[in-house]
Symmetry: C2
Subunit: 299 residues, 2 copies
């Protein structure tokens, strides 16, 4: 059996009791180590907690050599551990499809992921639209498809969870070109960078999807003892010092409820200003939507 | 400290190791028992696993008498256990706000919920729009606000997770009117009922948001050993025998990816038909969207 085991968000103890029991009886234990990181636990911490050797699975192993992970899984139990929930990243779906082809049974042991734990900031999960991802911009490569997705969410008043890029075990172009297996230090996008990149694309595209005054929530180290939320506008967040990773960001939609605001104010430095910012946003959205609603009658 | 502890989806062992440690050292342990149920564990199972008494918290206690839950939480640890993740339901946000007012510290211990574990059906979480809820219809009460939400999701091609009603500790109108504290047996909406209600509203509203031929996925007993997925159209699901609860339903959006389809086909009774149904859906959506895109240039 191949077990896909979610590890949750932060510490070794965030695994479920069932997950821990399966890991401890598994023949081999892999840790997927490129789509996210466990904030408060190293490979060694996991090994000592599990009492088992943990094999780091990088992108190359999972995407190009998955058969070596699956080897013997028809006879023995193999644990493939994933930070958050196993179905957070596309890449694990591939692994399941490959296992099926080989006639190997698969079972998932779920856990919290940013996709549901983000509710801790006080915004209601059913008011979120589609989730988007933001990658590190390069001078000549600034992919902005997220902008259209955020527009879709905001047009109907929904919040957008923005997942921020992490770069683990990446090679520089030069090292890659020269075939040197030298990896860059890991990088995790900060709130500041994310907010700046979002504003840069708004300036380039100019469709008024959001603005420097758009109310947001910075979500830092979610699920760890150092978890913080900061309720502020996008331009304020561009000047935040968000500290250690991991970070995510939520852009508020105009359907924000009273109770959501009440909860968020706890995280605002200037509560009156944030409340006013949200009110301005809601009014602006209503004004923007009005003609759109009239149009609909023609359809 | 007030701990909000997610229990995950099915068995006593779905709690995290950290959650279990906190429960075992808490002064009082509550189990929120009205927004969801743990599929494979009774109150007694939890008590025996935790080695602690578990107090059932019904809607009345949580919404009208939350101070009794919070009593002494400034001095001692109180565990408030919630099926899934603690921030799945609005009602728990209220409890946190009340705790704050009383100066009581709050910490959440997250876990899997239907909102992220639904990824196990093979549909990518970032292709989901807002989640909607469907309540049991009465002869004279058929709330249909979900219909507008599904329309919003489908207009932009996103999947919709439909959460199905559960009725626990409900009184009949007659017993309520006469002040008798007699409760009806618990009811959990089946896939059949959900699909029929969805089709009933489409027939009443007639805005062609979805149809009997719309491809869906029935999600039953997610996270339990009896978990099943059925990929079929809405009219086919209206005639399914979905078995024991809990159930949810996903309505596919037209942005469905190749890999999502490949994964889903495993759960289709007639793979060729389901594949064709999805293709028809995608074509129809494209045809519907074309004039809409032209309109946008006028804005």
């Amino acid at each position: 059996m191949l077990y896909l085991i979610g590890l949750g968000l932060s510490s070794v103890e965030d695994i479920t009791v069932r997950g821990l029991n399966v890991v401890r009886k598994s023949k081999r234990v892999y840790l997927e180590a490129y789509t996210s990181i466990l904030m408060a636990a190293s490979k060694e911490d996991l090994e000592s907690f599990y009492g088992r050797e943990v094999i780091l699975a990088d992108r190359e192993l999972v995407e190009s050599d998955s058969d070596s992970i699956l080897k013997g899984a028809d006879q023995n139990d193999i644990s493939f551990c994933v930070v958050g929930d196993p179905f957070g990243a596309t890449t694990h779906t591939d692994l399941v499809i490959r296992a099926r082809e080989l006639g190997i049974k698969v079972e998932a042991i779920h856990n919290a992921s940013i996709m549901n734990a983000v509710g801790a900031c006080g915004l209601q999960l059913y008011n979120f639209g589609q989730t988007v991802s933001l990658v590190f911009f390069l001078d000549n490569w600034k992919p902005d498809s997220f902008y259209d997705r955020i527009k879709e969410n905001r047009d109907i008043g929904l919040h957008t969870l923005v997942l921020l890029d992490i770069k683990v075990k990446e090679q520089s172009f030069e090292n890659m070109a020269r075939g040197r297996l030298i990896y860059e230090p890991p990088r995790y996008m900060s709130i500041e960078t994310a907010a700046s990149q979002l504003l840069e694309i708004e300036q380039m595209r100019g469709e008024n999807v959001y603005s420097p005054d758009t109310p947001c929530v910075a979500v830092s180290r979610l699920g760890s003892p150092q978890q913080t939320f900061v309720a502020a506008t996008l331009s304020e967040l561009a000047n935040l010092e968000s500290g250690n990773p991991l970070h995510s960001l939520v852009i508020l939609g105009h359907r924000t409820h009273e109770m959501e605001i009440e909860y968020l104010l706890e995280f605002a430095q200037d509560k009156q200003k944030y409340k006013a910012d949200v009110a301005t946003e809601v009014e602006a959205a209503k004004a923007k939507i009005a003609p759109f609603v009239e149009d609909e009658e023609d359809n």
